[in-house]
Symmetry: D3
Subunit: 328 residues, 6 copies
């Protein structure tokens, strides 16, 4: 069990805990003495570590991307904390809980998954219902869907983030379909559930969130298009025009060419879904920006994902004097 | 009372009814005989009209933008219907119902207005509630709000269209504020109600929908900024920071510089409202494109407002064979 | 057999020949007499036609998109030629040669197809060779490949144009792979052969060149991606990484997001192929612009596909005086 | 009185002078000894400072944004100068001259102000003259106008810079109105004087130049629009169309949407003023770039405000040999 | 001498006057009778003309781009005036005044030229003065400079327009160099005089304003670069660095790549000159837009050159009521 | 002769070799002791060097941009190698081989030059052949052509790189002219040979690759335009229209305004050449990116010149399992 996290270390503290090895190197001091240098991390951050004596066995035992157990002391070097290592060994799989090494959603994944299945079962159109349930019934998909983040950086960038994003969109889709009666609620729900399942393979998130090589070559839109198309082909009698509609909904959901959609939304449901998806992603990005500890008194730090900073509304209203207290 | 509309005229029909004069001219035939040429219109379209004999009195009596009563016969000239006028005189104000000359919403304006007031009264923040009610209580605003279109061409381009758009947005705002708990529901409702009231003066819509000169010089964002700022100044003790927030919500609601917003949304509620407003406008534009009689079997005509055509989903699904019948 | 073409008709000529019906309408003359109005066409252009007497049977017999046999006289109306019809009847399928109604390549399609197969057989990599030959062996594909145009307007917009374009690209691919030794000649040849086969379904070209509804919703990149992916899946043991590479080559071949490529070329062969494809398309567009009869003495007409006019080089050099004769 | 400036410090110098505290921190040395770290600055730059002993009282006494009096010695650490502090205390307001901490114009502010009033008094149109004089007569505005910079970074980024910029523009406006007789000289002068007064509140410049929160939410165009509109409303009988014209001149003066103008210039005077304002800003930015000590022999450093470097013309002409001496 | 102009013709008027032949054609009437159709024009517009009888000799005698003398009667056909020709013959050169066929400046060309020489002589730098005077002394240049328009459509699109534009810029250059003391007045004057002399060859303006083939291939920037470079090479000892500076001023004066400048202004004088040139061109375009007879009561017609309409300021201010009278 | 290169130095190695001085400075240690600090470099990289004792004579003797001979020992300081200098003196010209200090092509420059002349002699058109041979016969051009790089950073950024690029393009031009029979092979060859000769003066590459001041003011397109135009003027009877064509080919070869072409390609050969030049430059940039030692397992490092990373195709195919071995 992991007991200390990078963000909590204090000077001169002695620790015994687990980390992921991000970098490993043998270096020389100025006077030529070799030492082992590691960059270690967990879900809260990364830290430099050095082992000065008897590091040869450790250096052989551990590699980049290994989980390790260390005994060390926290020191300050050039104004930054650093670990001085006494012992390092590779961790056994059963000693490590991956959740300690990657940030994850604060929601209950089991409940989210149950909600998703409920939304899937609420679809009336038999073809679409069959399609969505078939995709979600694939065990490989289900396992990954409960873990995948929604992005590396932009929004919902934590384990379970994709599921949180998708369930949120299902809720929005249901409300909006009720608001605009001309919309086909089933199509909207279908695309809400399936629109990002390509991310299960586009991203890798075993030890850190990144992109797979195939993910970079193809992108999640193309990847999920293949998965969903095969699922439709596997349903006997699936109407070909409905297949083309579903395919269009998937490939157009980024809304613009420059975001990788090879077609603009040309179906009403595709247009609406693009708005909902974009809004929910941006709302999550704002939430992350305002929740971060950086930034100024009344402003978040600049968010590259959003191209601007956001106002800390409560702080600004309060700083305006007592009368403003009533404003919320 | 208007009995015949341009779109319903049939060849050789004799009519006695009212029109708006769009153009007026004296012309000569090829052999030099003068005649009166008018372009007449109502909410359903326009038609050419010619008066060959004894037109001098009529020509003096009527001007462009007058309503006129005519007796005429429908003829075909170069494959287009044309009116051959027997009598023309200026109409009395009490003879004319403006609604016959401008397209208008199919919704009940009285009900829409009641809904709007209900939304306004649901605001909890006392300052914002006072503000919104004060603006709506201005009789000049109320009268125009019940008539104004939301645009000349782009969306809700008919009398009452603005109110329809605003009430729709209030409904969306309420739902979305419930979905994202971090949003300030009162701010969202306030901007939904006030964001387009500058259009009451930016557009003119007495006889046809167009732009006023001031509207072209300033735009509705700047115009409503002045109106709403004065209303806030008139409320004693209105918190100055809250005033800046409301002003920011108004000026940023177009979401991008190139659409005339001098600031990008930098408050969460501003960002969300921009998505809702944009989506509702586009949905109305799609509705208009798909509702029009032009277009192909499976496609709407190209919509300049949307930069594309839209699929007639039902037609396309039906053309795919019997199995597709179940898809809706 | 078709004997007269629209572009060759001369005043007062009497003709008996076949046309395609583009539009059909019953209209009234100014004095109320009904007549039949058709717009007729062949591969050289379109012409208005009117039938004044005893047209009822003909009007029942023929519809839009029918081929018809007509007897008529050429007249001038408002400075444009027009047909005055004496007889009209639907043509029998065996009377009509489609090639008379759509422009087609001047090359020999059989020879082009043989060249294509030769290029396909020259591929060394066994997986890619199997893939390409399997796709070309599909009879549905082969039949359409010999007929399809490469585009509606932009380039090679005539029957057989796609095959002409593809065979040209195979030749370029071979030369360029020899020039840059670091390129994988087989990958380049594979993408040259397969990169546009989605156009077989994106376009319709039975009677006129246009887009299918599915073509508009998905585009040829997405359509051929599905075809080629299935073909790879059908080859037992096809290496999955090679599959991802082929998929990337297909989806990136437009080179830029705004032209519908969801990924930029990130493989050397993808980058080079994009240049070749773009250059060959533009060269064909220039050829069409300079070959057209419009334009000025030393300039082609403005080409929308190219965004400019092109110089008639020979004419310009010759107009410079006798010394310039030697320049070519 | 401030005696030493950051840019003039030399190694081992002992100083007693005033600074502004930019940052304050307690840190630990590698062996755990705490010390006080400050970042101190004046109008010429910033410098690191450390206090190793008996710093507890000082650390309590001073905060970020305080002015402090220090006794210190200049040392070199990692090739950069650093202060070793002996004494630090908060400065009394009367000890500090703000001008030592912010760069300011080299012009005489009193003379500039007198020139501005002269320009204002030269306006012929009685409404515009009344408007401009009323705004300038507001004591809050006058005080700030004599101090405000024109920008944080881009141009005239120093105290008094705004006044310098505005008076320069008044001079240009007068000349250009004489050159183009069709221009209304009074409108041009009015917008020259009023076009940036929103910057008095958009920027803060008490201790360093930055943006206020309201400034970021609204921008100076919107802020001055409210100030000037109120001033017009306060003049009885101010012609409403003239008001709309003045408002248009203010909101369009950035010339393009992407620079925050919600309307493009649609009045001749608005177009011309945009050119003058843009040119004067860019000229000031070039002056700053060429005046800076960075850059190469014949080139200024790259200017982000201008998107390029500028040639040092004299240096380049001189390096071309003796004949070039005559070129200036 | 030309007595009647197209814009002044009235129905049934008999005229004997000169025109330029824009188009010439032999056509057939509906019943097969051939006739001669000409499109004739002068500086005020164009008109259709038909000759029904004995036109064979005329048809042989005249060609496109000839000046002709005609006897004709004005008739109305399809609501547009048309000439019915009785006689047509080619005009003798001495009968025609080109100024009747192309619009020209209202300024006195002789005076403008004298002013230009005065500006040239005011240059202090001996190299630049020698350069400018040498260019203007070339008789081929002087003759064309007094005739050339500044553009085909965008601004100063009339004979003498270039000279008017250049002399205006010299005046501006002088004032601005006095305003910004850091500017080299001689460089600014030099580029003002020489910056558009490539237009003497880029445009053709013998009978109508258009582009030469070389003009389209190279553009005036490249053309004047060659002319001015040769003139500098011809001055013994011309400093090479000064030559590079002059060349840079010429090639950068459009200010942006997309307007055909291969380099952005990187010299202060180049930047300022770009502003002046752009402003003067746009002012002329606004002048033309407001001076045209098209447009609405308070607005000019939409100007493609400016991308917008412009306000008729006086009309708008007057429509605001009596108090507004004082505003000018 | 240079014996050690920066990239090969190992700790504690004692070296005696030559370097280029990039920077020179006298600094003080923390305790006030002065020392000489140099930044030294060769074609493989740069390294810091310090001389602690008796450096005064050396400091006087050597300057920035000098070649020096040093005796030194390699040490590690802050994890980076550094030279501790024992002796430093200026090198004699004959001791230094410039090729040790700038990267250069791996091809044989003599052979490349011979190939270039062969291509030049293959031109059939007598005017173009005369032109190309005249330019290449200029000894100043020939000497520089054999040395110049093709760019500072983007592609072929090494000595001889320009010649390598040009000869490669000549080969492509020959093949493409054979492929597209409508192309004028001589024009294509002419522009291939001449299109970048302005780079001989735009770049400086005596000690490091950079831009000349004239190069920055004018760019190579404008510079070569002057050179080639003069060469054409020097050939008696050179046809003026052919001159304009050659000039157009030169100025349009960047293909787009934003890359510094003042005209878009409007001649077929210009369009094709732009594609070839762009493709060859990008291929060289990809080659450099994939050849560099940076990057990940399956990806090159991000290339700023290309705006993306590129796949290491072989590595990716191999990582896909044994079956993939056959793919190449």
């Amino acid at each position: 069990m992991k007991t200390s996290f990078v963000s909590d270390l204090s000077t001169e503290q002695a620790i015994t805990t687990f980390f992921l090895v991000h970098e490993k190197e043998i270096r020389n001091t100025r006077d030529g003495k070799p030492y082992l240098r590691l960059e270690l991390g967990d879900r809260s951050g990364t830290i430099e570590a050095r082992m000065w004596d008897q590091f040869e066995a450790a250096a052989k035992d551990v590699s980049r991307d290994d989980f390790v157990k260390v005994e060390a002391r926290v020191q300050i070097y050039r104004d930054k904390p650093q670990l001085s290592l006494q012992k390092v060994r590779r961790a056994k799989p059963e000693e490590v809980d991956l959740a300690d090494f990657l940030p994850h959603t604060k929601e209950d994944v089991g409940k989210l998954w149950a909600q998703l299945l409920e939304y899937a079962n609420s679809i009336q159109n038999p073809w679409l219902k069959k399609l969505v349930l078939a995709v979600l019934a694939d065990p490989a998909i289900a396992v990954r869907f409960k873990r995948a983040p929604a992005a590396k950086v932009m929004h919902h960038a934590y384990l379970g983030g994709l599921l949180e994003h998708v369930v949120g969109l299902c809720g929005l889709a249901k409300q909006i379909a009720a608001h605009y009666r001309e919309l086909d609620a089933d199509l909207l729900m279908t695309v809400a559930i399936l629109h990002d399942i390509g991310k299960l393979e586009e991203l890798c998130y075993d030890r850190a969130i990144g992109y797979t090589t195939e993910g970079q070559l193809l992108g999640h839109i193309i990847m999920e298009l293949e998965t969903v198309s095969k699922a439709m082909d596997a349903i006997e009698g699936f109407p070909p025009h409905l297949k083309a509609v579903v395919q269009h909904l998937l490939i157009s959901h980024h809304g613009q060419y420059e975001f990788g959609s090879p077609k603009l939304p040309m179906i009403r449901e595709a247009l609406v879904f693009h708005y909902l998806d974009d809004m929910d992603s941006k709302m999550a990005a704002v939430r992350a920006a305002l929740g971060a500890e950086t930034g100024e008194d009344e402003w978040s730090a600049y968010s590259a994902a959003l191209g601007r900073k956001f106002l800390k509304l409560d702080a600004f209203l309060k700083s305006g004097g007592p009368a403003a207290n009533e404003s919320k």
